[in-house]
Each structure stands twice: as structure tokens, then as C-alpha cells.
């Protein structure tokens, strides 16, 4: 990893948003490949942050500031990524399900999808099933991506899938689900098309769902 990518990497781990944006600008000015900035600098840093969180080294505040630093860097990178990639990978309507306010993981998934040239319509957290339906209607999305972090809100994924069915949209979109308490088995049970245990695998799964 060259010096500037290393600087981006550590600024995200340290949650220094200003340093991240300055270094991303510098890297772009120097002609560094946007995909290298994204993958070697930012995605690698968030993976490390996730690891530090799992190990009990980092807590929620550190993780949130790191995610913010990544988000601001990504915002600068987006126009370049879109330019570099000939066409959009697909359109995704994303959100955390009704009753659930956990959005850190969902935001990471959205960021990584955007980083892979998906067009993401982020509905936020505590999203009503009808809101998902409406957004699919309006945007002609290819994928509905739902996140849930509470065992008590997981059932709302099924409710949303039922709402898509009732609106006659179920056959028009693929449903991707994720979040810490979920399993592949649960995803199968509720009739989702895909499940991913983490953000990078969410991108891979989204791509394979589009290809299918």
C-alpha cells in the first residue's frame, strides 16, 4: 500500500473525517485509481474497524466516527467511480425494517454497494413495509435490501416481503436481507432471495442476484 492510501486507511480507523477527505482529494489529484482508494484505503479500514469492534477494542462511538469518515470519503469518490464504471450495476432500495433504529451496518452495506456502482436509494431506518413498496414502485428497483438487528424486528422482513407480494411487485425485485441475528435459514424461511453476513458479501450477493 502506498503512503497516501495508508494515510486514508489510518484516518478512517482513527475517525478523522477531515484528514480522510483531505487525503482522498490528494490521492485523486495524484491520479490514484478510485477503486484502489476505495478498496485498499476505505473498505480495508472499515474491515479493520469491524474487527476492532468484535475484539472489544472499539466501541460504538469509535465505530460511528470511523463510518462517518468513510462516508465523507466515499461521497468524494462517487463521481469518479460512476465515471470509471461504464454502467450502473443495478438499482437498490435499502433500509432498516420497521421498528428498528440500527443503521450502522445498513449504512456500511449501502456505502459498499455504492462503491461497486450500484445506485442506492436509502430509505433510512424504521422503514414501513409500505415505504419499501412505494419506493420500488417509483424507482423500478432491481433489489430490495433490508437490514434488521433485533430479533423483535426480524419478522418485519417477512411482513415487507408480503407487502411486496400484495402490491404485485415480488416478481419484479430480488430481496436481499442481512443483519447480525439473521441466518441463511431464516432468509430461506421468509422467502428472501439472498442473505449476506457482512457488507462485502452483500455486494457479491447483490451482483449475483442481478446476474441471476
Amino acid at each position: 500500500m502506498n503512503e497516501i492510501l495508508r494515510a486514508i486507511y489510518s484516518s478512517i480507523i482513527d475517525g478523522e473525517q477531515k484528514v480522510t477527505t483531505a487525503k482522498v482529494q490528494e490521492a485523486l489529484d495524484q491520479g490514484t485509481e478510485p477503486s484502489a482508494i476505495l478498496n485498499e484505503g476505505m473498505v480495508a479500514a472499515m474491515a479493520e474497524v469491524g474487527k476492532l469492534f468484535e475484539e472489544g477494542e472499539y466501541f460504538v462511538p469509535e465505530m460511528l466516527v470511523a463510518a462517518r469518515a468513510m462516508q465523507s470519503g466515499l461521497a468524494m469518490l462517487k463521481p469518479y467511480l460512476v465515471k470509471a464504471d461504464v454502467k450502473s450495476s443495478g438499482k437498490v432500495v435499502a433500509g432498516t425494517v420497521k421498528g428498528d433504529l440500527h443503521d450502522i451496518g445498513k449504512n456500511l452495506v449501502c456505502m459498499m454497494l455504492e462503491g461497486s456502482a450500484f445506485e442506492v436509494i436509502d430509505l433510512g431506518s424504521d422503514v414501513d413495509p409500505d415505504k419499501f413498496v412505494e419506493a420500488v414502485h417509483q424507482t423500478n428497483a432491481d433489489i430490495v435490501a433490508m437490514s434488521a438487528l433485533l430479533t423483535t424486528t426480524m419478522p418485519n422482513m417477512k411482513v415487507t416481503i408480503e407487502a411486496l407480494k400484495a402490491a404485485g411487485l415480488r416478481d419484479k425485485v430480488k430481496v436481499l436481507v442481512g443483519g447480525a441475528p439473521l441466518t441463511q435459514q431464516y432468509a430461506n424461511e421468509i422467502g428472501a432471495d439472498g442473505y449476506a453476513p457482512d457488507a462485502s458479501r452483500a455486494v457479491a450477493t447483490a451482483k449475483s442476484l442481478i446476474a441471476a
Binding site: G56, F59, V60, P61, E62, L64, K98, G99, L101, D126, T151, T152, T153, M154, P155, N156, P181, L182, T183, Q185, Y186, E189
Partner: protein, 300 residues
Amino acid sequence: MEKRTFLERMSERGTLVLDGATGTNLQSRGLTKGLPAEVWVLEQPEKIIGLAQDFVAAGADIILTCTFGASSIRLEHTSLNGKGEMVNRRAAELAQRAVEGTPALVAGSIGPTGQLLKPLGPLDETDAIRSFAEQARYLADAGVDLLVVETQFDLAEAKAALTGIQMVTNLPVVCSFSFDRGTRTMMGVKPAQVGNEISPLGVAAIGINCGRSLEDNQKAMIELRDSTSLPIWFKPNAGLPQLDASGNPTYDISPEAMAAKVPEWISIGAKLIGGCCGTSPDHLAAIAKEVHKSQLFPSR
């Protein structure tokens, strides 16, 4: 019969028995996953009374109202939006009915708002204080004997809760944290910080609830005890929650295994002992039996 108050009972020797879990027990009695327990306060009040009565029968000296998530900020995201006053009053009445004719007391439960305070999250401190004050007033007006601010993870939010509560009532307040990252809260707060920063704020007891494993909770209690002179409230989960294949949490500690720890908890300094998630009335009965045994043979 005039009941001895919370503070009177706290000043006596010996250990008080708290209740067990609300959410996980109501779920095993049919509460649909995804529904906040407060929904049953209005729709299945007999189930709420039934569980509280089971805890009293098991030996609880204090039971908690089913109002953990009944702050206005929390209810906004549920079908009970705008019904905070009704839910809190009814829940207090149900708990009072369950302890009728017994010496058991009713603690009004106040949980976190479920949102992070600024700058990490969207919540204004003043809005948080207002929401806590409002819930405390509903519970106090309904006649609860004490209030417990529980499952806290952020010092700033816990302080907002205490500020709000103390604006509207002089009831004794307990403040309890959840160290669900082991011996740190999800925000990274350590038990010693809780002891140092919360003890001076006019609380009657300070404590630990929920959390992770019994071992971690016990370690956290030692650290907390070393940083406070207040009585300690201890309401751990019945072990580490494991998620089964369909995502239901299961708790692996048997009533006997949990109760076996009670003498140690008392020797560390727990004054109020119960259980959180996974603690059934059977668990609580076993805990109460140990508490009472240790009272008869204090040297054990």
C-alpha cells in the same frame, strides 16, 4: 396494613429479591416476536398481572412495571405512539394489583430512549430529559414505590434520565447499566466510571442488569462495588443468550446453576438481586431460596 417503604427496607439488614425477565417470559407466554411488551399492558393485562404474580409467589420483594419501552420517544416507533400516559398508568396499576395484600413493592421501569444522543446520534439532550421526566411523572402519579432507570449504556443518557426524573419526583431512584460488551457497555463505559459519575447524583442504589455472561456481570459488579458506597442492584441475564437457527434467543443457565451463584453475589456486595432476560419464575424461585438461606446463615 402499612407497607414498609423502599428506603426502610433498604436500611434493614439482608438482601432484597427483585423480579425476573419481562420480555422473554411474556414471549414464552405468547407475546408475538416484534410486538413491544407494552402492547400487552393494554391488550392482555391479565398476562402482565399473571407474570408479576408468579414473581411475587416466587419470592420477589420488588417487581418492575412493564414500561421499559414506554417513554414517548420509544413509543413513537410503535403502534402505541401517543399513548405514553395510558400505558404507564395502566402498567403501574397492573403491578399494584399483582402485589396487593403482599409486602412487595412496585418499581417503575424506565429504559433507554433507543436512540443515541447528539453528536453520535439524532437525539437532543433536552428532548431526552423531557421524555424521561414525562414518563417518571406518569409512573409517580400512578403511585409506584420507586423508579429504576435500567439497561443504560451511555453516561450522558443516564444523566439525562436522572435530571428529568428529579425534576418531577422525589421518589427513590435506582440507576442500572448493561455491560453488554463484557465489562464495558456498548459505548465503552466501564463500571468504575458508572460508580464515580452516577453515585453523586442522588440515587438510592446503583447497579447492573442484562449484560452478557454471569461471569462478566460478576466481574463488572466487583469493579462497580470498588467505585461506590451505594447499595448494589444486580439483575443479570440467565447466562449468555444464544440464538437458535431461527433467531430466537435462548438462555442456557438453569435455575439451580443461577441460584448457586447467589451467595457469591451477596458476598461481593449485592443488596438487591433478581434476573434479567431468560430469568423465568422458576429461576427467580431458586434465587429467592438462596437469598433467604443466606439470610438465615449470614456467615455462609
